[in-house]
Amino acid sequence: MRIVAEHLTYTYNERSPFEKRALDDISLTIEEGEFFGIIGHTGSGKSTFVQHLNGLIRLPSSRKHFHPKKPKRGQPAPPAPVLKVGEFDLCDRRTDFRALRRSVGMVFQYPEYQLFAETVKEDVAFGLKNFAEKKDRPRAEEIETAVREALAAVGLNAAEVGEKSPFDLSGGQKRRVAIAGVIVTRPEVLILDEPAAGLDPLGKREIMELLHELHRTWCKTIVIVSHDMDEIAENCTRVAVFKDGTVPYVATPKELFSHAEELYALGLDIPLTAKLTAALARRGIAIDCDFTTEDFLAKVLALKKGGAS
């Protein structure tokens, strides 16, 4: 499913002293099959944007009592926002938002805090039961199978943890269970808000590997919000940079991280590989890599070999 957003604007607590413009005329397209990254300083509107994508934040035109604002006299009418996720038109209030949420899975920041059920299995099955149509409720065996597969997909053994209370697991395990609870309905698009936040380096790597595995098998499109530039450089096909509710840059990691100055100006960092490349460039050694560790090392080693011969 292709995600198209045009002229998206969102204000929290409109017309109150706490008014806060979180998104300001954003336009962004995410193609099907991408592993899309979203970066930006804290408070730049990343979470607000991704919550639009499965209708948790509704566009005004999709709400029940919608009256389009009259433009002020002498000013052109602001362009109408567009938000489409595959076939779903999120500007239309007739859209089936339940079906949308079924095909756009959303993993919030620190998802382990949403666990509630008595056993891991029950918690993972929650979404499955909710999205089931009234007419053909899934049979117990079907649920059992789906839950087992979802747990296996996040690297957990249903026989081992399935009957445990989710509150008795470790932090990393809890997060896996929470992700399993979202992917159990096999969403086509999976959105994750800082999936690796607060994990140790190994845990981070494992989560990212898990996402790649999901990308290959279950979810065609993956969108992650992240503060970790190495993670972005390593994994993403394209990156959008958010700044105060706008998107100044959308580029591949390769293009983006060769512009270190611009990123520094936004209060963002660049990955270690980009720093090393820049340091080498200052000594007159130019390396043209895409800033993944693998490519960087390959290029450096090739250079070394070439220099030796």
Binding site: N13, R101, F108, Q114, F131
Partner: protein, 277 residues
């Protein structure tokens, strides 16, 4: 959830906002006394006038103050209906019969209608003046004020500071909890939870996935907070200094005189004029 106007700070820089919270509390008590002492529409009008002046001085939008009534709308309507249906008085305030309709224990009378209007106004004024206090005073200032006013209880060995601390924490946790509730609700909605449709039992059942994570994290947070206070050697029972000292200034004096004048005025009205009720 966000529509609950009652008890929310409205930030603005105004005379009323800067008043000493202790004075505002006392003023509120005086104001409420005045509202209860007022037995006629003149008294209520005086209170409403003073309230209007306060609202205008505070730069809180009038609409916001009126919206505070919504919280008790049901109570107001209930009171009005009861008054109108069950009052059997026979006073006639205007032309026509004093009793319009009567059936068994029910009756619609002129007196009932007048009393209903009076009670509705009284309730509305009560809520509006109380919400003015919370609109113009931060929760922290409010608890400081309450603690200071309750100082006499310390002599009876009642741990006032502990009560104040508990109140302060509860108040400061409200926005945290509402934010967290919203987050968890969103997370469960993303998993297809439905809080809006279905009968009452389904809806109660739907709350469980919100309530449990909320409870778990609240307990965690309480424990962390306790540990943090312990590790900083917090003790409530020794004399603590304040970051922001309360000070009584000329503004407060003016407000004090105004409040005193209002109560005296209403009492005089009651004694000498008698009123229409």
């Amino acid at each position: 959830m966000k529509d609950v106007a009652f008890g929310q700070y409205y930030p603005a820089d105004s005379f009323v906002h800067r008043l000493d919270p202790r004075l505002k509390l006392l003023f509120l008590i005086a104001f409420i006394t005045a509202i209860f002492l007022a037995t006629d529409f003149y008294g209520l009008a005086a209170c409403a006038g003073v309230l209007l002046v306060i609202v205008l001085c505070s730069r809180v939008p009038l609409g916001k103050v009126f919206r505070a009534i919504r919280g008790i709308l049901f109570l107001v309507l209930f009171t009005a209906v009861i008054q109108i249906l069950f009052n059997h008085g026979d006073k006639a305030y205007w032309g026509g019969p004093a009793v319009y309709w009567e059936w068994k224990i029910f009756a619609v009378t002129q007196e009932g209608i007048v009393l209903a209007i009076f009670l509705v106004l009284r309730l509305a004024l009560l809520v509006m003046c109380s919400s003015m206090l919370t609109y113009t005073t931060t929760p922290v200032a409010l608890t400081d004020g309450i603690e200071s006013l309750l100082t006499p209880l310390k002599w009876l060995h009642i741990p006032v500071h502990v009560l104040a601390l508990v109140m302060n924490m509860a108040l400061s946790l409200i926005p945290v909890l509402t934010g967290e509730t919203e987050r968890i609700m969103n997370a469960q909605k993303a998993r297809g939870a439905d809080f809006e449709t279905g009968n009452i039992f389904r809806r109660i059942k739907a709350i469980v996935p919100i309530l449990i994570p909320l409870l778990v994290s609240s307990i965690d947070r309480a424990e962390e907070l306790g540990n943090a206070m312990d590790s900083r050697c917090y003790r409530g029972d020794i004399k603590r200094t304040k970051y922001k000292k309360l000070r009584f200034g000329w503004r407060d004096l003016i407000a004090f005189l105004l409040g005193a004048a209002l109560v005296t005025g209403v009492v005089l009205l009651r004694v000498y004029v008698g009123g229409i009720l």
